[in-house]
Amino acid sequence: MKILNTVLGPLLSGILFSIGLGVSGMTESKNIIAFLDIFGVWQGELMLVMAGAIIVYAVLYRLIVCRSKPLFENSFSIPHNKTLDKRLIFGAIFFGIGWGVTGLCPGPGLVALVSGKTNALVFVFTMILGMFVGRSNFGTKILSRAKQK
């Protein structure tokens, strides 16, 4: 049952990830905005979400990649790209603006769907649309124009 092996890990990982977002307060867009509002009444709690996740993953990552391969695949798929290009920089700027406007990043955005709120539906729909634009010629064209300047 190879398919069961392939889907089991990601399924459990998704459940745990979602619960982690909920427990940490990341599923409340107001918390995200308050975290980004360093010039207002800053709420620093969410810094600890990142700290907790990074400490755990930094240790486990090193233990796991020492193994010859993952449990259910033949190799690890880890990016090794080191170039700091315009795509990365502009991408991060655009993402940051969208994050600041909505208080949602992709994970909490998907989780928010279960709230049934219109804002969550609009966010996920337009986010997927934005992904298509990013992949399209239009996205490449915008970037190459930025590159020339």
Binding site: L16, V56, I97, W99
Partner: protein
């Protein structure tokens, strides 16, 4: 006050464990934007792990409120237009920048990836700047 700090840390630990589990079982980096984006262009086998992660994410989301935590209760007052604009920017930005808070912010920083460290600093500052400007506009107008 202290409680919210503890739950933030504990939630973070769970997120780290989820990302480690993904690496251990399937050898993949847990980056939500990449996983979603990949669904629409993945061929056969690659599709299954991506969609099962998303299904897991949605199943987990159903457990959040029964566990006593909340989703989108403290809504910010952004219009549908602003939400849509923000969604577009999040989708576009994470696609050309190859990652979001999970892929760059958690997994990438833990791997000491220079790209991820730069991306995370930039999207943090960009988010902080955006919130500052929106608050300023809201006060003045």
């Amino acid at each position: 006050m202290t409680e919210s700090y503890l739950s933030a840390l504990f939630g973070g630990v769970l997120i780290g464990l989820a990302a480690a589990g993904m690496l251990w079982s399937n050898g993949k980096i847990l980056g939500v934007s990449g996983i979603i984006g990949g669904i629409f262009r993945s061929k056969s086998w690659d599709f299954y792990w991506r969609i099962s992660f998303i299904v897991g994410l949605l199943l987990g989301a159903l457990l959040i409120e029964p566990l006593g935590y909340s989703i989108m209760q403290l809504e910010i007052d952004r219009s549908i237009f602003m939400t849509g604009l923000g969604g577009l920017l999040v989708g576009f930005g994470t696609t050309i920048g190859n990652g979001c808070t999970s892929g760059h912010g958690v997994c990438g920083i833990s791997r000491f990836s220079s790209r991820s460290i730069v991306a995370t600093l930039i999207f943090m500052f960009s988010g902080i700047f955006t919130v500052a400007i929106l608050n300023y506009i809201a006060e003045v107008v």
